[in-house]
Subunit: 211 residues, 2 copies
């Protein structure tokens, strides 16, 4: 009997995109269930009662929450190309950069977009500081892990694909200020596997313009 | 040739205690280097240039930062009792609760201690909400993973051992309000391996009373 895999998500979520890509990398068939942010399903509330957030992975009915925890579970459960490097040191480095992007970049970039006045100024400064570290890290490399795309690049999908859409007019990441992130963003979005698995931009524009 | 392992830390840090215990569980010999919070060593600044924080593990000169990343590295690198459960689902659950304790409990508890006025009130409420979830999780179990002490309990070392010291007078965790966390805290601190590896209370009291 083959196992049953379900993903609860929002189609426009960068975190859900990371989980979907992880499953596709491993060739795992799954059922995708679209959630409604204003009326979350009973299944979502029961599967992630503490955070009540997507993505949630259900494997034979057992729920797992939080993007990186789900990805590590997928990596350990199914055969196929590794999601995290197998070498312990490289794996630790990948975890470090995923954490850095999630905690230092995304967090401050979102707040720089959504807050106003002095608060916005503060978060913009923090975002620039974090992005400068990322700029130095990607310098001279095609992807964060080297020549091949990896879990760290997928963690940065928000920076490459979502942020330019929601930050219009803010000019936080320009070719001039962050040439290496700019170049990496283009390479990331044009990578064949990524391109196939990112939500379509023509649906994203009206979705995020409404906000 | 045996490998060289070094830990940079503060003796009174709950995070450093977690790393030291991880190495001791595996029977790894290491050199412990005490850092000065007011004059961090060149080695620390070079080993963790981004966060400039302890703990840092150096393995044959290669630095690894961040408590959970270090613990996962130790678990993957050395033989011995597992730090994280081997079963992928149990491992995902352990990661979930470690994250919950680190992000939701410690964060709010510290702010409830250090902030004042309205801010303090807000963080106190958030801390109580998070602790209530933890209270339900530990109910009916000796330790978070069941009968045996595990990585989740060690993540909670701050709650059991440090918090009562720094929160004196706040009465956030009392036997009355959180009977299961109260009982677990006592079991945790009296566990033979833990007792041997926590910083001595007689040194902790003057250290934290000065703040």
């Amino acid at each position: 009997m083959s196992s049953k895999v379900k993903v609860l998500g929002f189609w426009y979520s960068p975190f859900v995109a990371r989980v979907k890509m992880g499953l596709k990398m491993k060739g795992v068939e799954f059922e995708y269930v679209e959630e409604n942010i204003r009326a979350k399903s009973q299944l979502l509330l029961e599967s992630n009662p503490i955070h009540k957030k997507v993505p949630v992975l259900l494997h034979d009915g057992r729920p797992i929450a939080e993007t990186m925890i789900i990805l590590e579970y997928i990596d350990q459960t199914w055969e196929g190309p590794p999601i995290l490097p197998r070498d312990p040191y490289q794996r630790a480095m990948a975890r470090f950069w995923v954490n850095f992007i999630d905690e230092k970049c995304l967090n401050t970039m979102l707040k720089a977009c959504w807050r106003t006045g002095e608060e916005q100024k503060k978060f913009k400064e923090e975002a620039i500081e974090a992005l400068q570290i990322l700029e130095n890290e990607i310098k001279g490399k095609k992807y964060f892990g080297g020549d091949e795309i990896s879990v760290v690049d997928h963690a940065g999908n928000f920076i490459a694909y979502w942020f330019p859409l929601i930050s219009s007019g803010m000019e936080l990441i320009t070719e001039d200020k962050f040439p290496n992130i700019w170049r990496w963003s283009s390479d990331y979005c044009n990578h064949a596997f990524v391109k196939e698995n990112l939500p379509p931009m023509e649906a994203m524009i009206p979705k995020f313009k409404r906000r």
